[in-house]
């Protein structure tokens, strides 16, 4: 997983996920990679933070209380200043329909729960490397 180099290079990642234990593992894994990680439990708070201080990347769960992840993603892509923000959709609904919706709405990656830590970290490192 971590090969000694810091893939994250201090890039900030915002996690929008309402399961605190999943947030805890994600935070641990990504901080070890050198990312600066913060987390929120619902989409509207995520949107507010994104507008105030946009992070380098967003990990967005679909099943969020209030507006769901897809709605938040749509709002992000409609917002000029956030249109290029890398967004990784995280979902427990693995159906093809959700994957299609995510990609149609402009997600950069789609990760299905339960994920392997290694795959998740690889995906995120790949996207952050592409962004550089």
């Amino acid at each position: 997983m971590s090969n000694g180099e810091e893939a994250g290079k201090g890039i900030s990642i915002l996690i929008a996920e309402d399961e605190p234990n999943i947030v805890e593992s994600l935070t641990f894994l990504l901080e070890r990679e050198g990312y600066a990680v913060s987390a929120v439990g619902d989409g509207d708070t995520a949107l507010r933070i994104l507008q105030q201080a946009p992070p380098g990347m967003l990990i967005l769960d679909v099943m969020l209380p209030g507006r769901n992840g897809f709605e938040i993603l749509k709002a992000i892509r409609a917002n000029g200043s956030l249109a290029n923000l890398p967004v990784i959709i995280l979902t427990a609904k693995g159906q093809e329909k959700d994957r299609k919706t995510a990609l149609d709405l402009g997600a950069n990656a789609f990760i299905t729960k339960p994920f392997s830590n290694q795959d998740l970290v690889k995906q995120i490192n790949r996207i952050s490397a592409n962004e550089e």
């Binding site: 709605e71 749509k74 729960k113 339960p114």
Partner: protein, 530 residues
């Protein structure tokens, strides 16, 4: 309703009283042979003779005449009319016979029939519940979330060598608590399945046709292509007009199209706008029917006659149509689909719909079609690579019966009876002709915009009662900004949202003040293992 036979009742009561036919006859002042005819129910009696007989036999008159059995007979007649039993061709007279001769057997049959109806409904509701169940979806989601935390945490514990003792303890704690939660959900699910009594479903032709449409995602590519080809044969113009179609029907299909003020008496009935006489190849249209309706009827007939082979091929390839009745109904529905594809060509219609943001009235004006025709076409815009907004469509009559349903995978619509009473499709009856809109939230937190309107089904004359029905289009809030009906709605504000369910029997909102029926199964919380 049929007359209840009195003879057998008189005979059995006489025997109970230990009287001979002759004795009873002389006591009421008639001959023994006439008494015999009465008991064989070959003579109808009434008036004072009936009263004298009732008195002599100490038989309350309303029991003897069967007034008290009347509701049993009505129930039996309802049983006889059930599509399941219709092939037996039972008549009303035999229901009265049974109630008269064997009242207890008649009551037994009614009881069993009621129980059968009730259980059929339960099976339907359970089947729907399994397919669309919010608890099941919620449990699977919860299980996946717990499994995700467990997998990720255990991988950290397994693969990370540099965890501090505090971190390791923390992750072990997570592992333990998530495993506990996972066990709870699994046990609950197990209990749920134990409690559910899931049966197989016997489907009606209407349901099979619904399944045909839903298995094709409401879109039939072959028919779209065929409709385009057919339209080109009918006219060089962009729009297929009634006149062009009539010409085509006459010259290419040998069909005569007439407009008449009334339809032939033998087939005329309320709501019927046309009559097709296959022997004389004549279509008679009611001249008072709205032009948009007439145009559609002609298009449907042309589709049926010109593209019957294509439609039949589709029917043959479908595994969901199991009876001839279903095929007949499906043939009709696919002809209507093809007509709709002719009048509202896919690409042109979708492009226009997008440009007016799915404003149904604007589309009615633009294409000279009815509100229903536009709604029906909107649900068919599912061509891969060029899809419209995914809409669900439901239609109901004022009694609350669902007369049309095109659900979305994530939006169940009631198969039988009515939906949640809070849905706008019902309140739309209060404001005929006006659009009613509503943001709804289901128990699984999914939200939709509902757009409903009730409309008169026919162009009516003064003497015809107006028949209303209500049409609902529904779309996920995700598409709110693509559709004109969400304009100005504050989707994020909780106060603007109506908390609804699928229908009372399937709805877990136990404290809902509009609840009419108890939920068919207990909620997860209620069945949860302590």
């Amino acid at each position: 309703m049929a007359r209840i036979p009195l003879g057998p009742k008189i005979r059995s009561r006489r025997k109970e009283q230990g009287l001979t036919q002759a004795t009873l006859a002389s006591e009421v002042g008639i001959s023994a042979s006439y008494m015999n005819l009465i008991e064989q129910d070959k003579r109808q009696i009434g008036g004072s003779l009936l009263n004298r007989l009732a008195e002599k036999l100490a038989y309350p008159i309303e029991e003897l005449t069967g007034e008290s059995d009347r509701h049993v007979i009505e129930d039996l007649e309802e049983i006889a009319a059930d599509p399941l039993l219709r092939p037996l061709m039972m008549d009303a007279r035999s229901a009265a016979d049974l109630a008269g001769k064997n009242p207890l057997w008649a009551k037994a049959m009614v009881t069993i029939y009621r129980a059968y109806l009730d259980q059929s409904r339960s099976v339907m509701a359970l089947t729907d519940r399994l397919n669309q169940d919010p608890f099941l979806a919620e449990s699977v989601h919860a299980m996946l979330s717990h499994v995700t935390a467990i997998r990720s945490t255990s991988e950290i514990l397994d693969q990370e060598n540099e965890l501090s003792p505090e971190q390791a303890a923390r992750f072990h704690g997570i592992l333990s608590s998530e495993s506990q939660k996972l066990s709870d959900v699994s046990m609950t699910l197990n209990t749920w399945f134990d409690a559910s009594n899931i049966g197989t479903r016997s489907e009606t032709p209407t349901e099979e046709v619904e399944d045909l449409f839903s298995s094709h995602n409401n879109y039939f590519a072959e028919l779209e292509t065929a409709a385009t080809g057919l339209s080109k044969k009918i006219t060089k113009g962009e729009r297929v007009l009634e006149g062009d179609m009539s010409e085509f029907a006459r010259h290419k299909l040998g069909v005569l199209i007439n407009h008449e003020a009334t339809l032939p008496a033998e087939i005329s009935r309320l709501g019927k706008l046309s009559a097709w006489d296959p022997d004389n190849k004549t279509l008679t249209l009611l001249s008072t029917a709205a032009p948009a309706n007439r145009r559609f009827l002609v298009a449907r007939l042309i589709a049926e006659l010109s593209l019957g082979d294509k439609i039949d091929a589709l029917l043959d390839s479908s595994p969901v149509l199991t009876t001839e009745a279903s095929r007949e109904r499906a043939r009709h529905a696919l002809s209507a689909y093809t007509a709709s594809a002719m009048l509202l060509p896919y690409d042109n219609f979708l492009e226009t719909a997008r440009s007016v943001r799915f404003d149904i009235d604007a589309l009615c004006q633009q294409f000279s079609v009815t509100y229903e025709q536009v709604c029906q076409r909107l649900v068919a815009l599912r061509r891969q690579g060029n899809e419209g907004v995914p809409f669900a469509l439901m239609q109901t009559d004022p009694s609350g019966s669902t007369t049309k349903r095109f659900p979305l995978p994530q939006l169940p619509l009631p198969r039988h009876g009515s939906a949640c009473p809070l849905w706008a499709i019902y309140s739309a009856f209060q404001t005929p002709g006006r659009t009613v809109r509503q943001i709804v939230r289901f128990p699984d937190q999914s939200r939709f915009v509902f757009v409903a309107r009730s409309i008169g089904k026919l162009s009516v004359t003064f003497h015809e009662p107006e028949f209303m029905h209500s049409i609902l289009l529904a779309y996920d809030v995700l598409y709110a900004d693509d559709v004109v009906y969400s304009d100005g709605l504050d989707l994020g504000h909780a106060d603007n949202v109506t908390d609804v369910g699928p229908n009372c029997r399937l709805c877990p909102r136990e404290d809902c003040q509009f609840r009419q029926e108890d939920p068919i199964l207990q909620t997860l919380e209620a069945t949860a293992v302590p």
